[in-house]
Symmetry: C2
Subunit: 411 residues, 2 copies
């Protein structure tokens, strides 16, 4: 299949890919305390009420609410202190009429108590009684059994990426291990006769491998795992051998093609050899990143990215992240924050092509943001290192005017 | 020092703390490929030009630009193909007048060539000559030596949190190890006689430890490291022993106090014993989290957080993150994205106190967001687990009206 027989839009490219796969989430049981950032692989239910006893939310006296009714500054109620509630233990007494018990925040209410009066609303007398200057309602300053979570309730649905708050909730319920998605393993291959490992000194004509490392860092940020296959020579045999191996050993693979058109065609040809349906997308109407290839074989995704490090990283940021999320089983992603900024200059673009422009973001003294394009040739990696994010010019537009409000996708 | 002698604002609390410390960033040399998310501890300079040879950005023919001048569809220029530039190697020939050389994207220009004409703008003849249908300017389709980075240039300043793009840039320059900040080690202690480890079954009156785990997950997200000291009994001797040990072994420590006022006072008292200046802040005009303590001893920060898990996590999110960043040496943080939403209900608050309200974010069919407060008692951990973020009611306000545009701080 020659290059760019028919370009598809970025959305269409993802559609074609997702129609050809059926992402299966592999899962494992891990310790909850190590699960921050992981994605739940099953609904998690609570086996108990939380809290499982009536707790005070303040320092004060456990009372029978009705015995404080009518109490006020000028007409206090009088109650006898029966005992003190021990922290972390069940009180061994119950309250009779006209009795109260000293209780601390988090303490368990004695039997028959149904409210707590704050210590500030009382005064202790030498007789061992207290004066109560305020009425409390039933349940006031008390957390009821099951008020946070009821036994049997689904507390965290399948497909949730766990944050510190969920980790805390699980611990509160004694759920110290949970089933989460195993990170998909992505094989990364760089091809090109001019590419050498970063640790080596370059000779004229050689450049160091960038893509293996930018892509690995990005994929790990997204929750995937990476296996490196290093640098593959630009020959049909070497490429076929390396891709076959990576295809066997990994869940999916990404190969950054050599820079020339012939090398990119070679990548597509080899992906077709590896199995059906083979290449689904060969060329996307996006800049940078037009020569992107999406292929599927044996239920595994193979992505061919341009050798140009800026193109490779931009496409991975925009199009590879939904793929990783699918294989982690992420459902209903949380709302994405965004950064809105005013574009500083006019930018033109070609209609029918989605353009992504690197920008630096500048905060104005008023607290708003300006987006200043970082111009330069699209294959200079430090263009991205000097940028805060990317802005999109939609395919329907022929550019954006200075002063337009744009959404910056931070990188 | 009794509790809440004088409440300070959250900003004032941080000011008092930062005035009493002089954050020293400890650093170490690590492999660049493992440095994503780490913070540089020195300016990083390039020792070389990037690229260090003139490269073609297209597939085509290397030419002397002036020899294409005047060329067009109707009046092509004719050039003889001298040779092909090998990928990854220096061409062993130079171009004489009327000569060109086949070159691939990323190839090194032969000596004397100063532009590349795209293959699409040429036609090859049987004679071994090419017809050139378009003039190219000097430097066209060529990346000049040092166009991305010049030798001696500071490419990444000290205090930068590294992203995939910077990792790529460093690799391109052969910088395979760099000096980054060592994560500050935060000791975490939970106190309270009612607290038991999450793996244990609760008896009536007992609750499981939440704070050790929510705080650890948050601190690790921020780039810090955690040492756990477990659950400390609510006694002066036990607390003093445990805090002393953590203070010796860690860079800083956080203790979540037992829930009652007397326990929180005990925490402050012990922090004062550990050394000068001791407690700097005891009570912040913020909700949740009023009983927060900031102390310093021997240049180490000690933070006392309320035992209430929601308060502890909210305060850590808002006030502990700038502390971790200071000890990582983060300079000029990147612009923060934000999520703007329309508040669904009226919320009242007390003037003079900053309130943080947990909200769920709902996306409207139009793509805008609604922020719906998740009401419930402030010590229910699942209130946070059910929330997407927090909204702030400033101290100057007495509430927010339904329909107000609010900024949601995602958690």
């Amino acid at each position: 299949m020659p290059e760019f027989l028919s370009l598809v839009t970025p959305d269409k490219a993802l559609d074609l890919l997702f129609n050809a796969i059926n992402p299966e989430v592999k899962s494992e049981i891990i310790q909850t305390e190590k699960a921050s950032g992981k994605v739940t692989a099953e609904d998690i239910l609570s086996l108990q009420n939380l809290p499982d006893f009536k707790r005070s939310t303040v320092d004060g006296y456990a009372v029978l609410a009705k015995e404080t009714h009518g109490a006020g500054e000028s007409l206090p109620a009088y109650l006898t202190i029966k005992d003190e509630v021990p922290m972390g233990d069940e009180p061994e007494f119950s309250l009779a009429s006209q009795e109260c018990a000293l209780i601390h925040t988090g303490g368990m209410l004695p039997k028959d108590a149904d409210a707590v009066i704050m210590i500030e609303d009382t005064q202790i007398l030498e007789s061992g009684e207290i004066e109560v200057f305020r009425a409390v309602a039933k349940g006031e300053n008390v957390i009821e059994v099951g008020e946070d979570v009821s036994a049997g309730e689904t507390i965290i649905p399948k497909g949730t990426r766990l944050r510190p708050a969920e980790i805390g909730g699980l611990m509160a319920l004694g759920i110290t291990s949970i089933r989460t998605a195993i990170p998909p393993v992505i094989g990364i291959l760089s091809s090109g006769d001019e590419i050498i490992p970063p640790s080596q000194k370059t000779k004229p004509g050689e450049v160091r491998d960038i893509n293996s490392y930018t892509l690995a860092a990005l994929i790990e940020d997204l929750g995937g795992e990476v296996t490196h296959y290093g640098i593959i020579a630009d020959s049909r045999d070497e490429m076929l051998k390396a891709l076959k191996k990576a295809h066997q050993e990994c869940d999916h693979l990404i190969v950054t093609a050599g820079s020339s058109a012939s090398t990119r065609d070679l990548t597509a040809e080899i992906m077709n050899i590896l199995g059906d349906p083979g290449v689904l997308v060969h060329g996307i109407s996006i800049k940078p990143g037009k020569p992107t290839i999406f292929a599927v074989s044996g239920g595994k995704i193979m992505i061919g990215l341009p050798g140009n490090p800026v193109s490779a990283l931009v496409i991975a940021t925009i199009l590879v992240s939904p793929i990783i999320e699918a294989y982690l089983g992420v459902k209903s992603s949380r709302p994405e924050p965004a950064l809105f900024a005013e574009l500083t200059v006019n930018i033109s673009s070609q209609a029918g092509r989605e353009d992504w422009i690197p920008v630096r973001v500048i905060k104005t003294p008023e607290g708003s943001f300006l987006a200043e394009p970082v111009f330069g040739r699209s294959n200079l990696i430090f263009i991205l290192a000097r940028s805060d994010g990317l802005i999109k010019i939609p395919a329907s537009a022929t550019g954006l005017e200075a002063g337009s409000l744009v959404t910056v996708r931070l990188i």
